[in-house]
Structures are given as structure tokens and as C-alpha cells.
Amino acid sequence: MQEKAQGQSILSMNSIEVLYDNVMLAIKGVSVQVPKGGMVALLGSNGAGKSTTLKAISGLLKAERGHISRGEIKFDGTDITEMLAQKRVEMGICHVIEGRRVFEHLTPDENLTAAAPMGMSRSELSVQKDKIYDYFPRLAERRNSQAGYLSGGEQQMLAIGRALVTQPSLLMLDEPSLGLAPFLVAEIFGILQKINREEGLSVLLVEQNALAALEIVSEGYLIENGRVVMHGTAEALKSNSDIQEFYLGGGEGTNFHNVKHYSRRKRWLS
């Protein structure tokens, strides 16, 4: 019974605690499950611990002098808690980091090449590239210009495309919608959904833009102050009154809105 439940999650993160610089406790016992082929959102406000959660999974914590001080992470049944980041990419975890950090001085085509595993043959790489250019036709048009001069939306597409070259089975994205116009967010999220459907790619999506995220995922976790404070299906979260008020409500968060947000949030923390 238990084995079967394990088999259904591609990622299973249990009571993870992360320390930065050995002192700063950034997340305090976060547990997250991503079902195989599923799309899951991590929601929460700034500083909640969403990026830290992703870095714990991808192994990029080490680069920021952070480490997992408690808990375990299993990917496809294998314990990866202590594994090197590079090894995790090889296993099929790819993390599209915050701020669409494309290789600015390389062309989009070279960005894709850079991410290709050394063992991938030339012909396989060109098949992968064609597939990515099919998903993101805008990138195909600009494949030989300098990536640093692409628009924000194009850079985000490139960052996602670059991650796809590593042939992940779990794709994690850190606030891909940040600073993008709504039509671009819709376009990118639509493509993510398409890849998820067509290739069974599992997706873990970190967003502050809960409205857009809850449209494409099937379940979500709400993280506040380093803890999971809510977990449910997208429908349940959308209809939850707190979520509605703080994350889906007034649209452009006014100052008034923020004040209320903070006073009410205490309820989850207590």
C-alpha cells in the first residue's frame, strides 16, 4: 500500500528544514508531494520560503551557503537529500531559477546547446531544439541574436526551453510570471500545460500570481513564514475565503489590502 503511494509521487519532500549560513532558518519543516505527471503550485508572499524550497530540491542551496538541516527528499523513490546539484539534473530535476537568468552573451541557440548533457548526440540535440522551437516559435525567430537583448517574455521562454534540453521529468519554475504582461503569462502557462499534457512532464510552479497559477495546476500549497499553512486542490484553494481575499481578490494589491493581509496572516501562523 505504502509503496504504491510512493510510486505515484515523483517528488516527495518530508519535513525539510533549511539553514542559511548555519544560522538563518528559512524553512521550518516543509512537506510537499508532486504526483507523477501532475502540476502543483507553491503559493505565498515574498520571503515565505518558496525559492528556498525549490533550491532544497534542486541542490542549488549549496551555492548560497544553505543546507538542509532536517528532513528528506525523495525523487522517483531515491533519496536525493545530499546529492550534488549536477547529479539531480542528470536524474531529471531541472530548476528554472528566479529572474530568468539566461546566458546573456550567448545566442538563444547557444543557450540551448550549453544545457545539453555531454552525452547527448548532435542529432538528438537538434531534435530537442526543434521541439523547443516548436513550443516557442518566438525563440525560433531570434535564435541567433544575443540572448541579453531578448524581451522579458522571450527570456523566460528561453529559460524554460533551456531547462527542457536537460530532459527533465520534474520541471520547477520560480516565479516565471514576474514582471510579464498578462497575455505573455497566459501564453507561457498555456505552453507549460501543453508540455505537461503531451509529455507527462511533472511541474512544480512557484508563484505569487496565484490567480494565474491556480488556473493551470491541479493542486497547490500555501507557504507562509517557512511553513505550509494550507494544501488543497486548485478548486478548493480558489474557493477558500482567505486565499480569495489575499491572493485572488482586489487584483492590484493596494496599501489597504496589504495591511489587512498582514494582520490576517497571523491566524495561520499561530
Binding site: 551555492a63 530548476h95 546566458f103 546573456e104 552573451h105 550567448l106 550549453a114 544575443q146 531547462a163
Partner: protein, 295 residues
């Protein structure tokens, strides 16, 4: 004005300049991956020359075998430096890495002094000292050979940076974190750039060793090499070539006119002026990368 004489000065200056470029290419390789001017490049060049001599003189190998073998040894040494010293400094301030390279330079100089002593040894490549006569212009053969080596390495690296491994190295130069995120081994990439710089050091060490003899003074090439690298933009191989030619010509032609006025020593003044003016007026050098403004 005697145009033949002026051309001779310019051409020989350009050839000498390309020998500075040969040295500077090594600096550029490390700078691209680590964002730090490698102050140990002079030490590596000197060690490269000593390794060739050790294999050729002490073990009696022919030069055609000793030089490639020295390149292999130095390639390994470059990787070793990353593994033993640099990896521990990952994430520390760049100035710490800079100080490490300085320490390494001192260490390498001390080591060769302890092992081989301070007397200058000759490389004996067998290149004739008889100058080549091009029309009315005298050209040094060894300088011509060295310039050819510099240009050959330039072409080789331009090609290399278009291969998958080369593209990964350029990616590392752009963004460590993003590189890690797609599974690129930044550590191995930095190691490779040191290894390649060490191979370049063998080429520079052999040519410069032939010209000025093999001793600790080879490590002082760093000063001119660094000037060339800075003028070229620190992270541009093309920049290193163009800047080498420019510095070589300015130095050779300029010294001819200035030396009588100041009574000698103007070469150093010209090099110093180029370095200082570059940093003040054009900090990114001729071909250096500007950071792209985010749109």
C-alpha cells in the same frame, strides 16, 4: 622620415606584440571563467618552460616530444590548481581569488628557484638567429614563429568556443548559478580554463624562453601580458590579439622617438601609460564585455 625604417620598427613591434598576445591569451582564458586576472600566469609560463627543459635536457627527449608532453603535464597542473586551491574559494570575494593567484605565482617562482637554481638556461629551439630579409626590412625569425603560434592558438580557441564544451565554458563565464541549474559542472569548467591557460603558458614559455632564456625573469612577462589583456578587454581572445599588436607597435615605434629625449627606459613608460590610460578612459578595453542592461 625613413619609411623603410619606420615599417621595420612597426612590423617587428607587431610581432613582439603578438608574443605578448600569446601570453595574454592565457590570462583571458582564466578571466573568462573566474572573473579574475590570473597573477600566476607568469609563474605558469616560467614553469612551462622549465618542464620542457626538464624533459628535453634532463631526460633527453627530443623537443618535438618534450613540448607536447609538457603541455599534457601543465594541462594536469591547471586542473590540479582548481581542485586543490580554487574550489575552496568558491563563493568568496573575488579579491581573495586574486590574492590566491598572487600567492601561487610566488610559490611557483620559489619552487623553480629551489629545484633548478637561478642561472638562466637556454631553450635551443634551433631557430636561426639570422634575420629574415623581407624587401629591405629585417625580421627576427623566432618572433615570426612566435607570432605564428599566437595566431594559430587564436584560431584554435575561436573554433573551440563554438564547440559544445566551449559554449558551456562561455555559459559559466556568464552565470555560475544558471549554469549549475542546468547541470553544467562549473568546477570542471573552471578547471578546464586553468588547464588550457597552462597549455598556453607552455607555448609562451618556449617562445619567450628561446628569446630571453629560461629563468625566473620569465614570470615578469605578466606585466606586459596584463597590459595587453586589459587593453583588449580581459575576456576577449580577439582583444588580446589586437591589443598585443597595438601595444607592440606603439612601444617599438614610440621608444625609438622617446628614448633619445628621455635617455632610455621609455618602453616601460609607454606600457605604463597604456595600462593606466586604458583603465581610466576605457575600463572595458577594446573588446571587453559590457554587462547588458536588462530590458
Amino acid at each position: 622620415m625613413d619609411w623603410v625604417f619606420l615599417s621595420e620598427l612597426a612590423i617587428n613591434g607587431a610581432l613582439t606584440g603578438l608574443l605578448y598576445s600569446l601570453f595574454a591569451i592565457g590570462l583571458v582564458l582564466v578571466y573568462k571563467a573566474s572573473s579574475v586576472p590570473n597573477l600566476a600566469q607568469g609563474g605558469l609560463t616560467m614553469v612551462g618552460a622549465y618542464v620542457v627543459l626538464a624533459l628535453a635536457r634532463d631526460l633527453g627527449m627530443p623537443l618535438w616530444l618534450a613540448i607536447p608532453l609538457a603541455a599534457v603535464v601543465m594541462f594536469g597542473l591547471g586542473f590540479g590548481i582548481e581542485r586543490v586551491a580554487l574550489r575552496r574559494l568558491a563563493g568568496r570575494p573575488v579579491v581573495m581569488i586574486l590574492m590566491l593567484t598572487l600567492g601561487l605565482d610566488i610559490f611557483l617562482r620559489g619552487t623553480t628557484l629551489a629545484i633548478s637554481g637561478g642561472t638562466s638556461r637556454s631553450m635551443e629551439l634551433g631557430v636561426s638567429y639570422e634575420p629574415l630579409l623581407l624587401g629591405d626590412i629585417f625580421i627576427s625569425r623566432i618572433h615570426l614563429v612566435g607570432a605564428g603560434v599566437a595566431l594559430a592558438l587564436f584560431v584554435a580557441f575561436i573554433v573551440f568556443f563554438r564547440t559544445r564544451t566551449g559554449i558551456k565554458l562561455r555559459a559559466i563565464a556568464d552565470d555560475y548559478m544558471a549554469s549549475w541549474s542546468v547541470g553544467i559542472s562549473v568546477e570542471r569548467g573552471v578547471g578546464l580554463s586553468w588547464a588550457l591557460a597552462s597549455v598556453v603558458a607552455v607555448a609562451a614559455g618556449v617562445i619567450w624562453g628561446e628569446i630571453q632564456g629560461v629563468d625566473q625573469a620569465l614570470s615578469l612577462l605578466l606585466l606586459k601580458g596584463l597590459t595587453v589583456a586589459v587593453l583588449g578587454g580581459l575576456d576577449s581572445i580577439l582583444g588580446a590579439i589586437v591589443a598585443g599588436i597595438i601595444l607592440g607597435v606603439i612601444e617599438n615605434v614610440g621608444a625609438e622617438f622617446l628614448d633619445p629625449l628621455v635617455g632610455g627606459g621609455s618602453r616601460e613608460l609607454i606600457v605604463a601609460a597604456v595600462l593606466i590610460l586604458t583603465v581610466m578612459i576605457r575600463p572595458h578595453g577594446l573588446f571587453g564585455r559590457h554587462d547588458i542592461e536588462r530590458v
